[in-house]
């Protein structure tokens, strides 16, 4: 789950990482008031989940509270990369002497968290050559220690006895603490700014592990799913909207991808990715079918190879939706094999539907039907 910049900064501040003076505003009047409290040049930053706010004009630099009000008014009426701006962050304008980069994320290949840092942060971090990027893995059994942070700071070329170096050693350790305590799969500060003797997190990017939400209920996060994607997520299903015309349901991420690949190879276009795997029961499967039909596709393709998913559950769900709607508004093709396959096919037969044995035959059939 993603956070807006201001949410991440509030989290940083709670843990003692220095952030600029200021806070979030939802109206131009609030922005004016915050700017008056700061008392000097400010920055008004749009809060959207897009990395291109500056280029889109979503960051402004007012000098007075009146200018801040006007800037907030403009920014709050903007849409950046399709995302409407609903709030702004009003902060002190920092004197920037140097921009650096720091993050901790998960390295799946190493099965460890990894610290990534660079003495050259800011807008162009992704364009930096490899030799300017420091990567250091964090041994989960050893955990984070001051020596680890000191070595990163040394490699960034910052003196350990300088005010900057001392603060950075603290920040690095704190970032890992946040990762562990808040199940963050990414914490990023870009840029980390030197401003005279201060070191300040001038931006924040925090992503919380979606699988850890059961123990992270008190954290704020931003909705970044479409309504249909949210409805599926609430059912515990993984769903992504695409732009084709055949709605797809399969069970398991790999086979769902394989189903989309097969449809596309035969000249069809998928409307979505929907993995209803993991032993999804009859009721949730029926709701998922409703979500798919709500996309108004030209056809519906169900591809089930039951392992933990039981074919009779899927067939019953299909029958429930069929009966509730008095049939389907679009052509439907079902491939149904695996656990409890015979029971599932009996149920389908009772409403006059024949299941396919092989994915490739079923895929060709649905493409014919929607043409």
């Amino acid at each position: 789950m993603k956070m807006f910049e201001y949410m991440g900064k509030e989290l940083f501040a709670k843990y003692g990482i220095p952030t600029p003076k200021g806070r979030m505003a939802k109206t131009p009047e609030e922005a004016e008031k915050i700017a008056a409290e700061i008392g000097g040049p400010c920055v008004v930053k749009s809060q959207v989940l897009s990395g291109k706010r500056g280029k889109a004009g979503g960051i402004k630099f007012p000098n007075t509270p009146e200018e801040a009000k006007k800037a907030a008014e403009e920014v709050l009426s903007m849409t950046i990369q399709g995302l409407p701006v609903e709030c702004v962050l009003v902060e002190e304008k920092l004197k920037i002497d140097k921009e650096l980069y720091m993050s901790i994320t998960i390295d799946g290949s190493a099965k460890q968290a990894v610290m990534i840092a660079s003495a050259y942060g800011g807008m162009e971090i992704e364009a930096q050559p490899e030799e300017y990027i420091i990567k250091k893995h964090i041994d989960p059994e050893l955990g984070m220690h001051p020596f680890f942070a000191r070595d990163v700071v040394r490699r960034m070329g910052v003196g350990l006895r300088t005010p900057h170096g001392k603060e950075m050693v603290n920040i690095i350790q704190t970032l890992y603490k946040i990762c562990k305590e808040k199940d963050a799969e990414l914490v990023e500060i870009n840029p980390l700014v030197f401003s005279d003797d201060r070191v300040i997190a001038a931006d924040s990017k925090v992503t919380i592990d979606e699988d850890a939400m059961f123990r992270m209920k008190d954290l704020p996060f931003v909705e970044d799913k479409s309504p249909a994607e949210r409805a599926a997520a609430n059912l515990g299903l993984s769903f992504v909207e695409l732009d084709g015309d055949i709605a797809v349901m399969a069970n398991g991420a790999g086979i769902t991808m394989g189903t989309l690949d097969t449809l596309q190879a035969f000249g069809g276009t998928p409307r979505n990715f929907l993995d209803c795997g993991g032993g999804t029961g009859r009721e949730a499967t029926a709701k998922a079918l409703d979500i798919l039909l709500g996309l108004e596709p030209k056809g519906l393709f169900i591809n089930i190879f039951g392992g933990i998913t039981r074919c009779d559950d899927v067939a019953n769900a299909f029958k429930d939706v069929y009966e509730a709607r008095g049939g389907f508004p679009v052509p439907v093709v079902i491939r149904l094999v695996g656990t409890n396959q015979d029971a599932g096919r009996e149920i389908l037969k009772s409403i006059g539907v024949e299941a396919f044995d092989f994915m490739q035959d079923a895929a060709k059939r649905i493409i014919e039907l929607v043409k």
């Binding site: 399969a250 990715f273 392992g307």
Partner: protein, 290 residues
């Protein structure tokens, strides 16, 4: 021979009294798996499908030799359950549970490494040594004994391809599910090395997907292998930046793309099947069979 598990493996089912676990205990027993014990805290003394249930893994280990455990407990308790089995000395731990927080997975994998144990998963369908032993959730009827090794990240896609292999007369030595999550216990290279050494295995099917760089790393080892490798990579049609179900199945910053993986595998001498049902023909071609 098969790898990791065989007909002599004594299996414990963790969380055996749950709905999914008891259902699949029955399925595993029907396959021929030697399930000698189950464990659910507070339900010791009961039986599930004739299998005795114990309160702790240590208690089960006092009564039986446990070679391998399969874990079905819900995600919030998975780390505890996995560590309990590893601490008790179980050398193969298969974690079926999905939705385990990634930092819990990292801790499980690190502890397993210290104990010299294999962890499959989290979020794996399990492992099957054809005709000998099944741990996990795959449907029994498609997994038959033979000489093809299969290693995969994704469950149902594996059933799909194994189903095609079996329909074409190609049985399996062992089918290994590494798990679909970011931090899982085994790598493709770990499993490929075992297949390379295994007498029963004559060819290997690698089932990968977009995201990460596991397939690229595997390609480096495939160059050294004497046995033929046929691969299928899922996600050719996936748009960048969208997570396709699995935590790791996402193309980010131009990395982990379908094309990159196919190029790496092809350069290493593996044959890549464009679609799942085309795998058996490539295997037969590689082994010179009709």
């Amino acid at each position: 021979m098969a790898i990791i598990i065989d007909e002599n493996t004594n299996v414990l089912v963790m969380g055996i009294t749950g709905r999914q676990a008891s259902f699949h205990t029955k399925q595993m027993l029907a396959y021929g798996t030697k399930i000698v014990a189950g464990c659910t805290p507070g339900k010791g003394g009961q039986e599930v499908e004739g299998v005795p249930v114990y309160n702790t893994v240590r208690e089960a280990c006092e009564k039986h030799r446990i070679d391998a455990s399969v874990i079905f407990v819900p995600a919030p308790g998975t780390k505890d359950a996995a560590l309990e089995n590893l601490e008790a000395g179980v050398k193969v731990v298969v974690i079926v549970t999905e939705g385990v927080p990634v930092y819990d997975e990292i801790d499980i994998v690190a502890y397993a490494r210290r104990k010299g144990a294999y962890v499959l998963g989290p979020n794996t369908f399990g492992i099957v040594s054809g005709g000998k032993c099944k741990m996990g959730i795959p449907p029994n009827q498609y997994f038959v004994e033979g000489d093809i090794g299969v290693v995969a990240r994704s469950g149902t896609l594996t059933y799909e391809i194994v189903g095609n292999l079996t329909a074409n007369g190609l049985g399996q030595s062992t089918v290994v599910g590494m798990g679909g999550d970011r931090a899982v216990g085994l790598t493709f290279v770990d499993v490929l090395k075992m297949f390379e050494k295994d007498d029963q295995t004559k060819a290997v099917v690698l089932i990968g997907e977009i995201g990460g760089n596991n397939e690229e790393i595997a390609s480096e080892y495939i160059k050294e292998m004497t046995k033929p490798v046929v691969a299928f990579i899922a996600g050719k049609s996936a748009p960048p930046g969208k997570r396709m179900g699995h935590a790791g199945a996402i193309i980010e910053r131009g990395k982990g793309t379908y094309q990159g993986k196919v190029e790496a595998l092809t350069a290493a001498g593996a044959k890549v099947a464009p679609l799942p049902f085309q795998v058996p023909a490539l295997i037969k071609e590689a082994l010179g069979r009709e």
